[in-house]
């Protein structure tokens, strides 16, 4: 998208608040007018105070009253302008954030899995902040800056066109200096950012691996490497800091030149009677403030450009196609939990077939274990069952119904899922357990916790079920897993999916979790994915998968008797030497 297209699109988000924006601009105009008229009034006051015995007190009182009024009005308009801008800007930002977040949940997982999580976080938090600072605040600053310059020129022209010309002629100098500095420093800034990245990358690696660095006596070597980067950063950093700190002195210098020019020409004109001392005073104060908006504008323009690239990332997120149905109401779950996969095919990449012509029938209440080496398609199968991903061909039937005719909500209500990484959010234990059924009674929650062997632990906590799970409460991996089990138990699903659910738990807690699982699986259709074969020996049927296909299936003993792929896998884990 071009820059102007991005701007136009952003303005569409501001549209609901366009009245506020218009008010902000009006207030800005008024404020600048008031601020700029102050020096003129001060000049008039000075002209009424000439010398001993030559003071026109009536005029002094009049002009000073006017000055006080103007000054107070200017401050008031500035305050009003800021408020209008703030409301307009912060509301736009809030809307944008909410939309982005809603979009996150509307995107298919296929899209999300391809995006770096850090990227999404960055867009939602930082990019939107940058847009707030750069684009919206910058917009009013730009406007104020431009009308200040135009206004100043107008006032100066009205006092004396000749001297104004002198000031205008000096202006390009200021621009030239500023743009020279900007072009030099932007190259160096990029270089500095690169070295900074290198340094923090190094630090991250070596500080996280500090004990390894120590254990292998690599401190001196590491410090030498660190120092090499550090020195380069010092060199570039010094240059960057010096060059970027030139802007202020240089524009101040141009300002001083303008001041001198106005002083000399003004005094000469006053000599010829062409202007009064008061007018000279007003002129001097205009001249000393004239270049300030130029500085601000060039700053705003750089920030604007930075925020446009943030804008682009935000719009890119919003433009991704959403998942087809997002209905999240649906009927309750009836049926028996029978699943049939007929000729199912799926591929992540168009030219890399993964699952082809996959057939499977699971009767209600059956326990199905899926085993196979990494990348064999176990997790993919689950993605398809839950409709996290859409199948490429064939059909999946739940109790005879094509799952694509159900809303995702309806379909998923039949499933309960426990994954390897147990997900706990910041909330009370009760809220965490009741996540799938927020309206569940405390008695139900307690029952689920009891079934998951979690009850005893929760009672030990000072606040029991109302304990807030945040950084201060540390649950062990096993306890987290038990909590996730309780969460699923409370929903009472017909079909269970346990994906590597015990692999990060040590063997002793595993016994506890295992017994909770066994209890949960009674009477439910279950799919179990695991590395540890001991957890799946009890399954009704074991599917041995490789390369997206079922190689063998049968019970544990049947498969061991066949003595093929499964027995190899099994022996590699448990056999003695």
């Amino acid at each position: 998208m071009s820059q102007s297209a991005l701007l136009r699109r952003l303005l569409r988000y501001v549209k609901p608040y366009s009245l506020l924006l218009a008010m902000a601009l009006v207030f800005a105009l008024l404020q600048v007018a008031m601020t700029l008229s102050a020096p003129v009034i001060i000049g008039q006051a000075v002209d009424a105070i000439v010398a001993a015995g030559q003071v026109d007190f009536i005029r002094v009182t009049q002009t000073l009253t006017a000055l006080a009024a103007v000054v107070i009005l200017a401050a008031l308009f500035q305050l009003l302008m800021t408020c209008c801008t703030n409301v307009c800007c912060y509301r736009t930002i809030r809307d944008l954030r909410m939309q982005c977040f809603a979009q996150f949940h509307a995107l298919p997982l296929a899209t999300l899995d391809k995006t770096q999580q850090g990227d999404f976080m960055n867009t939602l938090v930082n990019d939107i902040d940058v847009i707030s600072d750069g684009l919206l605040q910058g917009f009013t600053q730009l406007f104020t800056g431009v009308i200040t310059i135009v206004g100043t020129l107008g006032f100066m022209l009205s006092i004396h066109p000749g001297i104004t010309l002198a000031v205008v002629l000096i202006t390009p100098l200021s621009f030239g200096v500023a743009s020279f500095i900007a072009s030099r420093s932007s190259r160096l800034f990029k270089q500095q950012a690169r070295i900074k990245g290198e340094l923090s990358g190094f630090a991250e690696e070596r500080v996280n691996g500090q004990s390894l660095v120590a254990a292998y006596n690599q401190q001196a070597v590491s410090e030498a490497a660190f120092d090499e980067i550090n020195q380069r950063l010092n060199q570039v950093g010094t240059q960057v800091q010096f060059i970027s700190s030139l802007t202020n002195p240089c524009t101040r210098f141009v300002n001083n030149l303008a001041y001198a020019a106005v002083g000399i020409i003004g005094a000469l004109t006053a000599l010829g009677g062409g202007m009064s001392v008061g007018q000279l005073t007003s002129f001097l104060s205009y001249a000393s403030q004239y270049t300030k908006p130029f500085n601000e504008i060039s700053g705003v323009v750089t920030e604007l450009q930075a925020s446009l690239s943030s804008c682009e990332r935000v719009f890119h997120l919003l433009d991704q196609p959403q998942e087809s149905d997002q209905a999240d109401q649906g009927s309750g779950k009836q049926g028996r939990g029978e699943l049939r996969l007929e000729h199912v095919s799926f591929r992540y990449q168009a030219n890399e077939p993964l699952i082809e012509d996959f057939n499977l029938t699971v009767k209600p209440g059956q326990k199905i274990a899926i085993v196979g080496p990494t990348g064999c398609g176990k997790t993919t199968l689950i993605n398809l069952l839950m409709r996290f991903y859409e199948i490429g061909g064939g059909v999946i039937r739940l109790d005879g119904v094509d799952t694509r005719t159900l809303s995702r909500h309806e379909l998923r209500a039949h499933f309960g899922m426990v994954l390897q990484d147990s997900w706990i959010f910041r909330g009370t234990i009760r809220e965490n357990i009741a996540y799938g059924r927020p309206d569940a009674s405390l008695a139900d929650v307690e029952k689920a916790a009891r079934q998951a062997h979690l009850d005893y632990f929760i009672h030990q906590l000072p606040q029991g079920y109302d304990t807030l799970l945040d950084e201060t409460v540390s649950l062990s991996q096993g306890q987290k897993q038990l909590l996730c089990i309780a969460r699923v138990l409370l929903c009472d699903p017909q079909i269970l999916i346990l994906d590597e659910a015990t692999s990060s738990i040590d063997t002793r807690t595993e016994l506890l979790v295992q017994s909770a699982f066994d209890q949960m699986m009674q009477g439910r259709t279950s799919f179990i994915v695991a590395h540890r074969l001991s957890t799946i020996e009890q399954a009704d049927r074991i599917l041995v998968m490789n390369h997206g296909q079922i190689l063998e299936q049968g019970s544990h003993h049947e498969l061991l008797k066949q003595g093929s792929f499964y027995s190899q896998l099994y022996n590699s884990q448990f056999a003695g030497e």
Binding site: V46, I49, A51, A52, G53, L64, L67, V71, A74, A75, Q78, L79, T82, C83, Y90, I93, R97, F101, A106, L109, Q117, K196, L199, S200, G201, E205, V207, S211, A215, Y216, N217, V221, F226, T238, Q239, L246, P249, C250, F253, N256, L257, Y259, I264, A267, L271, V277, T281, L284, S285, Q326, F388, M417, Y435, Q477, D506, T507, R508, L511, S572, E577
Partner: protein, 572 residues
């Protein structure tokens, strides 16, 4: 000498001359209104053309000298601040390397990284400002006040009043806004936190169809963040108008009182104009001062965090005894206890002995204290009670480098560093030649896949070694340890990603090494340790069993339980 201030000693020249030049610039800046007053009072009043031109020339001259001084100061400021930053980073990184593993985790490594990067940047910024503005701004304020006094004592009272009122307004607004700013930050953290949770739980949220609830939760946070921003917006929106009003009303007062002074002949018209100019100048300097105050408050917090690192004494200091090359030293743990915090112990009263060339297994559930024992051996941490001896000599008497060369650990997490495979392997021994590296790779069962890589030893590993599989990384880590030919090799659950055959081959090849090292295998897998010379069984920080597999099967309940959970039915 460990305070931040002490690092200024390298930059005395910059520290003196930088502010000095800035001061010179400020003086010239202060003189300009005075010269202009002379132009008005003398030049215009006496219609002296030559005088006006001469004084105009003086103003241009001041501008030229001013910019020269100011550029010099900026140069010194850049050199001093960046140089300070560089020295601080070097010192902090050096200090981090002296810390024990426990000290690193007390600070947390992410916090140490922040101190090394962001906090140093903050201090750097403040040092630059210190040189550039900390002298100039107060000088301009005081200078304007002094000049006002020189011109007219009574009128200077208005200046004093303005300073007091502005200081009052600024301090009230700043106290309020810093309070509200923290609220904004809290709300933003909440937004990040919800987002993070949703990213991690995206599958669970969809499985329970709770997208709407989550969106609602987020919207609430976004709304709260909006309200917090609005409150700050009000306060910071008041800054400019409030100070403007004070200063402009000051000018009104100046002109009003001035009119009487001029009428009485105590003050000239030109000097009145000069006073107005000084008022404006003073105002600008006061605003700069307020901003400086904010920067310095932030930097002081950062400086405190950096000093906390620099002032922490390294907990582990090496001795001077050289370790004899005799590899037959016996390792003894004698009633060793360790606790990460007071009154809490990770391991208690652990005693065992490892003879040269023995293979020892160590097994137990998570959190039983296995990793603590591993860290104690190369003195990454020191015992809180008891003693560890090597060849009868307490570990703390050896030089650290020597000790760690003899006792090599292969960590649980297979960490490799960005660089070539050769560079990574040479961590074990800086002088090892390629033949030695290949030998270690062979022993570690890593030769095949390294040979299969197109660039072999020169293959570049990315950060964390992510371009290798987990099993490959573990074998490279083992090879790295073997390159140094240690006398005790500690494998901390470091074969978990290897399949059984490779694991077994590895254990066998370790025994074949000439002058083979003693090996301590820490594992959760029975298969990895059952053939060890003896096995240590740990449970909740205590040693609950010690003996061969068969002995433990008879005597140790914890061991029996572990075996039961891992052995197939027909072996029970």
């Amino acid at each position: 000498m460990k305070t931040i201030v002490s690092y200024f000693r390298y930059f005395k020249k910059e520290l003196v001359f930088g502010p000095l030049f800035k001061l010179a610039e400020a003086i010239f800046e202060l003189l300009v209104p005075l010269v202009m007053a002379r132009i008005i009072d003398v030049g215009i009043a006496q219609k002296d053309l030559a005088y006006i031109l001469r004084q105009g020339g003086v103003i241009v001259g001041f501008a030229l000298v001013g910019i020269a001084c100011s550029l010099t100061c900026q140069y010194f400021a850049a050199r001093c601040s960046q140089g300070m930053g560089t020295e601080l980073r070097r010192a902090v990184y050096h200090q981090i390397n002296l810390f024990s593993a426990q000290q690193v985790s007390q600070f947390s490594s992410s916090s140490l990284i922040t101190r090394l990067t962001n906090d140093v940047n903050q201090v750097q910024q403040a040092v630059a400002m210190l040189i550039r503005l900390a002298i100039r701004a107060p000088f301009l304020v005081l200078g304007s006040l002094t000049m006002a006094m020189v011109i007219d004592r009574t009128m200077a009272l208005i200046f004093l009043a303005a300073i007091v009122v502005i200081a009052l307004v600024l301090s009230v607004l700043m106290t309020c806004s810093s309070h509200f700013f923290r609220a904004v930050q809290r709300q933003l953290d909440r937004i990040s936190q919800i987002t993070q949770e949703n990213l991690e739980g995206q599958r669970v949220i969809r499985a329970f169809s709770r997208q709407r609830l989550e969106t609602h939760r987020f919207d609430e946070a976004a709304q709260a963040s909006y309200q917090a921003s609005m409150r700050v917006g009000w306060i910071s929106g008041l800054f400019n108008p409030a100070t403007q009003i004070v200063i402009n009303l000051g000018i009104v007062a100046l002109l009003y009182c001035g009119s009487f002074q001029v009428n009485g002949g105590a003050l000239s018209q030109g000097n009145l104009v000069a006073l107005v100019n000084y008022m404006t100048q003073m105002f600008l300097a006061l605003v700069v001062l307020a901003n400086l105050f904010v920067i310095f408050t932030k930097a002081a917090a950062s400086a405190g965090r950096i000093e906390a690192v620099l002032k922490t004494e390294p907990a582990i200091i090496g001795g001077i005894t050289e370790l004899s090359k005799d590899k037959d030293a016996v390792l003894e743990m004698d009633k060793v206890s360790f606790g990460y915090s007071e009154g809490e112990s990770a391991i208690e009263q652990i005693s065992f002995t490892i003879q040269p060339r023995q293979t020892v297994g160590l097994i137990g559930g998570t959190g039983c204290g296995k990793s603590t024992i591993v860290q104690l051996l190369p003195r990454l941490i020191d015992p809180t009670a008891g003693e560890i001896r090597l060849g009868g000599v307490p570990l703390r008497e050896f030089s650290l480098a020597d000790l760690r060369r003899q006792i090599r650990i292969v960590p649980q997490k297979a960490v490799l560093f960005s660089g070539t495979i050769r560079e990574n392997l040479r961590w074990g021994n800086q002088d090892a030649d390629d033949a030695a590296l290949w030998q270690a790779l062979t022993l570690a069962q890593a030769r095949d896949f390294v040979e299969a890589m197109p660039q072999r030893l020169d293959t570049l590993l990315v950060q964390g070694g992510k371009n290798c599989s987990g099993g490959q990384r573990q074998r490279l880590c083992i090879a790295r340890a073997l390159v140094g030919r240690p006398s005790l090799l500690v494998l901390d659950d470091s074969t978990s990603a290897l399949d059984y055959q490779t694991d077994a081959r590895l254990r066998q090849s370790l025994k074949k090494i000439e002058g083979s090292p003693a090996v301590l295998i820490v594992s959760q897998r029975i298969a990895s340790i059952r053939h060890a010379d003896f096995i240590l069984v740990m449970d909740q920080g205590r040693l609950v069993g010690q003996g061969t597999h068969e002995e433990l099967l008879d005597t140790c309940a914890v061991y029996q339980e572990i075996v039961r959970s891992q052995t197939r039915e027909d072996q029970r």
